[in-house]
Homo-oligomer: 556 residues x 2
Amino acid sequence: MTLSELCSTHSQTLADAIKANQERTFHAHWPEAPSGKIYGETANDDGLARFKGQRNAKFDRLSGGDEWVGDESSPYGFPLGITYPSSSVAAVVERASAAQTAWQSLTPTERASILVEALERGSKHFFEIGYATQHTTGQGFVMAFQASGPHAFDRALEAVAMGLAAQGSFTQSVQWSKPMGKFAVNIDKSYRIVPKGINLVIGCSTFPVWNTTPGMFAGLVTGNSVIVKPHPGAVYPIAIVIAELRNVLVELGLDPNVIQLAVDTAAKPLTLEYVQHPAVQVIDYTGGSAFGTLVEQESIKNGKVVFTEKAGVNCVILDSIEDLDKAMDNLAFSLSLYSGQMCTAPQNIFIAESGMKVGDATVSVEDVAVKLREKIDALVNNEKAGPGTLGAIQNPTTVGRLGEALNLGLAEIRATSAIAQPGFDQALSHSPLVLRTDVSRSDVYTREWFGPISFVITTGSFDESLKTVEQSIRQHGALSALVYTTDAAKMQQAEDAIVMAGAPVAFNFNSFVWVNQSAAFSDFHGTGCNPAGNATFADWQFVTNRYNVIGVRKQA
Amino acid sequence: MTLSELCSTHSQTLADAIKANQERTFHAHWPEAPSGKIYGETANDDGLARFKGQRNAKFDRLSGGDEWVGDESSPYGFPLGITYPSSSVAAVVERASAAQTAWQSLTPTERASILVEALERGSKHFFEIGYATQHTTGQGFVMAFQASGPHAFDRALEAVAMGLAAQGSFTQSVQWSKPMGKFAVNIDKSYRIVPKGINLVIGCSTFPVWNTTPGMFAGLVTGNSVIVKPHPGAVYPIAIVIAELRNVLVELGLDPNVIQLAVDTAAKPLTLEYVQHPAVQVIDYTGGSAFGTLVEQESIKNGKVVFTEKAGVNCVILDSIEDLDKAMDNLAFSLSLYSGQMCTAPQNIFIAESGMKVGDATVSVEDVAVKLREKIDALVNNEKAGPGTLGAIQNPTTVGRLGEALNLGLAEIRATSAIAQPGFDQALSHSPLVLRTDVSRSDVYTREWFGPISFVITTGSFDESLKTVEQSIRQHGALSALVYTTDAAKMQQAEDAIVMAGAPVAFNFNSFVWVNQSAAFSDFHGTGCNPAGNATFADWQFVTNRYNVIGVRKQA
């Protein structure tokens, strides 16, 4: 396998991805179904076996550390016992710096092709990645397979394609010839892509691959050495991806330290030390808002580029709908999926106290609330679909938050209860709690209640609902917004208000797409312009801010 | 004139500009020669008449202010006496905000076409802009015509083309259709370009149009309302451009306050108040480093986007050359042009104490210095070319700096003297001072000596010269670098070192292109990655960081 063979092998994949980013219709390079027909009849068994074999063992697909550390345990109730090679911040940064020059001297197409090769190899391990994700994040297996496998890999490919398109948008060299009347003056010009420096990617515990691959691959395709600092509770899934990429680099005779896994533990966190290292010049962060804001401040004051996805408060407005059952089915699934542990999960459901228009009838707030409860019950109590949809709670703090919500003393639209996860008696799993309050209780609903906690909030009118949502987006950020209305004027009003406040908006979802979802090559994830973060997967800024272009001119 | 007519009229201009940005070979939409054959036989006389008529008068092509203020005087020795309408910061910002929504609701192509129309109209005033520039900046007329006319307008068009290309790089709306086995789920998606907010463009006294149009037009094409806050000493040239754009907007029935001129005076500066206004979200700055760094800090700490071009210390390395006369002709011109008042003008000329290789011979430092002096003398003493090349000194502080340099006690390679500017007895004009020192005097040469001041600095070797230059770029920034070497290995070494340090580099210029120059559509001006500033005219970041993209999804 030579570099030029790789470029030829993956040129169509890259061309298709670039085209998909332009056209933004449905595109998936890796099918999302965890199916043996697609990924091989033994793929599931093989992946499960690898997962089981990896437990209580060194992750020796990576090497080169000074010690072996690890801190992961499954939200389904057992420790993973995996350890990873770990080095000092100084050693990791030094290796990244040493690897940088050769990497940036490759062409963007060469870098992109290497990255696609690594993704293709990684895709052979989607099932292991799925199990690794399930047992670090608590996601149900199907979701874990999709989110950390095909969806995350498509987001990676999207970022690679954006980076390649940006860098390839002008010539690498040209003879510039300026006519000067009777003669011309000629200058040979070339344009060098100079990466900003080492790119640190800080992962989160709930989406350790999906939220890491965009920054990781955007950094790599634009010539930066990348250090991935995963959440200490969710290392395993991304370690598999990194190991595959390092294998490809080694096979090509390149320094694998272009990409490194930097593991720390909850007891001895290293994130801030990486952020503050002067050689680290680009930082991607996904995680909580408080630490994220600190990372932003530390980065910005030192002139570093920082991309963040922090947390927001996602809102829904109920105004009118043709089919209440379909709408509440859709909303119930969004509230239940991964127990509200998605950054895009709805939390606050605003409805005018006069109720909701359904066709020509009016349905009271009470009846809408009952319908929502019934739909959640139907999903949660469905033995086949329920446990896998809810998954387990990643962090015990989230269970504590459920208790805190119960102590608010609000009326319960739906009570939470422990949920059995078949095969995992010790799993931490709880069904959605839905509370009822009104617009006066901004002390309650302007907070993020991360986890399976939501509020139905009555307001005086649609206008008040919208105004409250708009203000919430501006002050507290949002990754999603969902509005049900059949009124064209209200739809335009809501679109304008929510978009101007800086959030994306979805209308009348009543089918097999949910507001929590964000599709690679089509949906920009994160708007970058509200307090929930400054990054967008994957707009131009997401790639172009990672490098500069420097001109070289020679008298011809 | 309708909007759709404008789009059709200017579509080829925009397509050509987009293509030029990709191919980066020579492109000029407006010819640079101040020739009656191109711009009309009476264009010069008309422009001069308008200039004379504007002196000691209100600039009533703009209106709407609460008072009339003005502070300009010609470096050629007379006050301009022009006053401009001025309003409070709050009033200007309020008008900009009110104009924003309608402007951002236009398509990128509509915005771009309006902007090209304004540039075409402005180009009818190139001669007046030239005289206005000459008598605010001190530039000789031909340079003033070119720099503020065709070159600045080409930079504006370049930015418009980049902004249009970026915004047009993906579809505005699409029906997304996801296959789900036996059926498909359909979502209607649209993508809205949301400008960051009001874009403030802070101008400088030496290039009031060339350094203002890129940010101004980049901001406008991406949907932002723009406020131009010119240097109080150089308002007139950009006021002409702004008035023409406002005329076009009014004719189209649009709010002209999309673009406003915000004039202040040296006695009562308003820049910081604009920078700190919360509605101002994007800031372009050109000017000195100290204030520029303050603008950066104020912007960044409040989460604003800031593009800066501050000052650097530009270096030359002399190693080897085929034809010393041609090289020194080129360098002498670069040192003399506008009396070293360009941000790209060379200051420090490093040469190994063993001298310079010229063909097979070695020429001593003394003889190289003599040759440089002779070439400057020949240019400066040329009655036809000299005064116009040097122009006048914009700021009396610069003359004081000449005195400070003389007090260093260094050997003079070339003495400075007052230069007569025919027709302007009171002009502040001084020929280049060239001093000699060695590499030990970093206290001298690591400072920026803005104006007609340069140093020939001996070092132990080419390697020491290069290392010193590299360090200087990293610590003090640079807008240009120039190396003379015929040795391919040294050329590669210098290219790598200077590019990695973050500066552009030119080699062996010996003809009618000078290191000070930076050509629109071909040369990126500013690298954005050294202390001289973070902006590049016009890379992707320069346009993409001014807006966000927000998705709207509707169940189909």
